[in-house]
């Protein structure tokens, strides 16, 4: 049977589902290729130095470093802050809670994951920035720290739920064996279950980090919006800028085919590559864990 016959005997169901499958699998490539093509003008104008330039003046110079730095910084703060809470509650929920309580915690996390980003943004701008300003005695509460704090809350449900799944996928025999050897339950958890689930836990954190890095609206409202690396660079309580917040702020005015638009797309490309690297690592780790 040649190929032509093979295809002609497929029914209409094959064709429409095939078309749909083509759309859903091709989108990611279209996104990537469009990002690359549309960012060419800024690389032509600036060269590769776009990536480590520190000045961004629309119409003159485009340098991405402050935004890349800001993204890494807020994401880093978010991860450090979320880890104890996400892993602690994942361990408790998976190893110590009864079935009913466990479902309740999971449901709460699912709801928390659904809270729209703009609500976090509103809480951030109306409450959190004021608290940060008063608690740390700052002039302005719009800082990298504020954005990181908000992101930590936002990714808590993602990291917690995925970590909990990873812990539960450790087979029960491991636990039984550990207990029969005379370990306490806590020793069992930290010496047997957690090491076994480690790839899965790491995967959960990577996926959370990926989400944090791409979050736009909440960060945009509280980060301060200044395209500058703080002096000194580890000063968390200075205003900054992350890649998504930069795009969010300027996209409306640059909409079209300008170099500025191209520079924003190039920022998008950098963000895309960073997030995809993190997420792929996370997915590989999660698959290994299963």
């Amino acid at each position: 049977m040649n190929l032509k016959q093979k295809f002609s005997e497929k029914g209409p169901a094959f064709w429409w589902t095939g078309f749909a499958a083509l759309i859903s699998s091709g989108t990611i490539f279209i996104l990537f290729i469009s990002l690359v093509i549309e960012s060419i003008p800024v690389f032509k104008a600036q060269g590769i130095s776009f990536l480590w330039g520190t000045d961004w003046f629309a119409g003159e110079a485009y340098g991405a470093l402050p935004m890349i730095f800001g993204s890494l910084m807020v994401t880093g703060i978010a991860v450090v802050m979320v880890l104890p809470f996400a892993l602690g509650s994942a361990i408790l929920t998976s190893e110590f809670l009864s079935g009913r309580l466990r479902l309740m915690v999971k449901a709460a996390m699912e709801l928390l994951a659904g809270v729209p980003g703009i609500i976090y943004g509103l809480m951030g701008i109306a409450l959190l920035t004021v608290w940060v300003r008063d608690v740390f005695g700052l002039i302005d509460g719009n800082t990298l720290f504020t954005a990181g704090f908000l992101l930590a809350v936002m990714i808590l449900p993602t990291v917690m739920t995925l970590s909990e799944d990873a812990l539960r996928s450790v087979p029960g025999e491991f636990r039984d064996t550990a207990l029969s050897l005379g370990l306490t339950r806590m020793e069992m958890v930290f010496k047997v279950v957690v090491p076994q689930a480690l790839p899965g836990l790491a995967g959960a954190v990577f996926l959370g980090v990926g989400r944090a890095m791409g979050e736009t609206i909440a960060v945009m409202l509280v980060i301060g919006g200044i395209d500058r690396i703080p002096q000194p660079w580890f000063n968390l309580f200075a205003a900054g800028q992350s890649i998504p917040s930069k795009i969010g702020r300027e996209a409306a005015e640059a909409l079209g085919f300008d170099v500025q638009w191209s520079a924003l797309i190039a920022l998008g490309l950098v963000l895309f590559v960073m997030v995809m690297t993190l997420t792929s690592a996370g997915n590989i780790l999660l698959r290994k864990a299963r």
Binding site: I23, T27, R185, I247
Partner: protein, 283 residues
């Protein structure tokens, strides 16, 4: 009390502390939005149009805009997601190809939403000449929620017992008939929950639509394909930027309460359907 037991207790106590803090966050968010938003809610607030850049009046057209965008997105997305899942489960046989397919969908799920906004505007706004309009917004959100629907429907189709399919095949059903008679009815719950979650995700999204589909003021219902809408999300964004003004803030919390109610109702119904199914499976 011996030392091991003491250590055990201390760690357990700490773990409880972390978990309670995590759940408290949800409680704090709910309480804050409700307490700050409730004073703004009234019949007039829900059914009047906004005046003076949202400082006065209500949010009727904002609610309408959010509903238009999220429902449009789900309507556009559903046939594509469904078709794509069915192709994957019914026509693809190589496990290698299936794996790659899954990976692509998962990657799409991880793409930052602002990138959907950027590239979506290029495709739908510029190439399809829809401009900054509700159509552009619907299409962008449809692409954005595709993985959500896809994963949910895929899980449901995968969990159909093998003998159901075999029974269909034994009756001599063609793949198309098999889909209509066996797979769609048996995976209906996945289609419903996936769509609800997709609606919730679309309703909560701001970044992808703020510069591609919406105008901040003076907009009512769209009268043509290329007109922008106004939405709850962007309305809150507009008001949040005037956080120093107490009137703006009150109305922002009011709009936030309405938005969060929409999203939470959708998620709660999803959880309710799912837990019902789990109980049935345990019986």
């Amino acid at each position: 009390m011996n030392r091991r037991l003491f250590k055990e207790r201390t760690i357990l106590f700490t773990l409880y502390g972390f978990t309670v803090c995590g759940c408290l966050v949800l409680a704090v968010i709910l309480a804050t939005v409700f307490m700050k938003g409730a004073p703004a809610i009234s019949g007039a607030f829900l059914f009047e149009e906004s005046r003076n850049f949202g400082l006065e009046g209500g949010i009727f057209y904002q609610i309408a805009g959010t509903l238009i965008l999220m429902m449009g997105a789900a309507l556009v997305c559903l046939p594509v997601a469904l078709g794509s899942v069915l192709f994957q489960t019914e026509f693809l046989h190589s496990p290698q190809v299936k794996k790659i397919f899954r990976l692509l969908i998962y990657s799409l799920n991880a793409v930052p939403t602002i990138i959907f906004g950027l590239i979506g505007y290029l495709f739908f706004g510029v190439f399809l000449e829809a401009g900054v309009s509700w159509v552009t917004g619907v299409l962008i959100l449809a692409v954005m929620i595709l993985p959500t629907l896809h994963v949910s429907i895929h899980e449901a189709v995968e969990s159909i017992p093998k003998h159901y399919r075999e029974a269909g095949l034994a009756l001599g059903l063609s793949p198309g008939q098999q889909m209509r008679a066996v797979i769609l009815p048996q995976s209906l719950h996945g289609i419903v929950t996936g769509t609800l979650l997709g609606l919730a995700r679309a309703a909560g999204e701001t970044a992808a639509i703020m510069f591609t589909a919406t105008a901040f003021s003076g907009v009512r219902l769209p009268q043509s394909w290329t007109e922008p809408v106004t939405t709850l999300q962007t309305h809150i964004l507009l008001l949040a930027q005037e956080a120093a003004n107490p009137e703006a803030l009150t109305n922002a919390w009011g709009a936030g309460l309405v938005l969060m109610t929409i999203v939470f109702v959708l998620i709660t119904v999803t959880l309710w359907i799912r837990s019902g199914l789990e109980m049935e499976a345990q019986r």
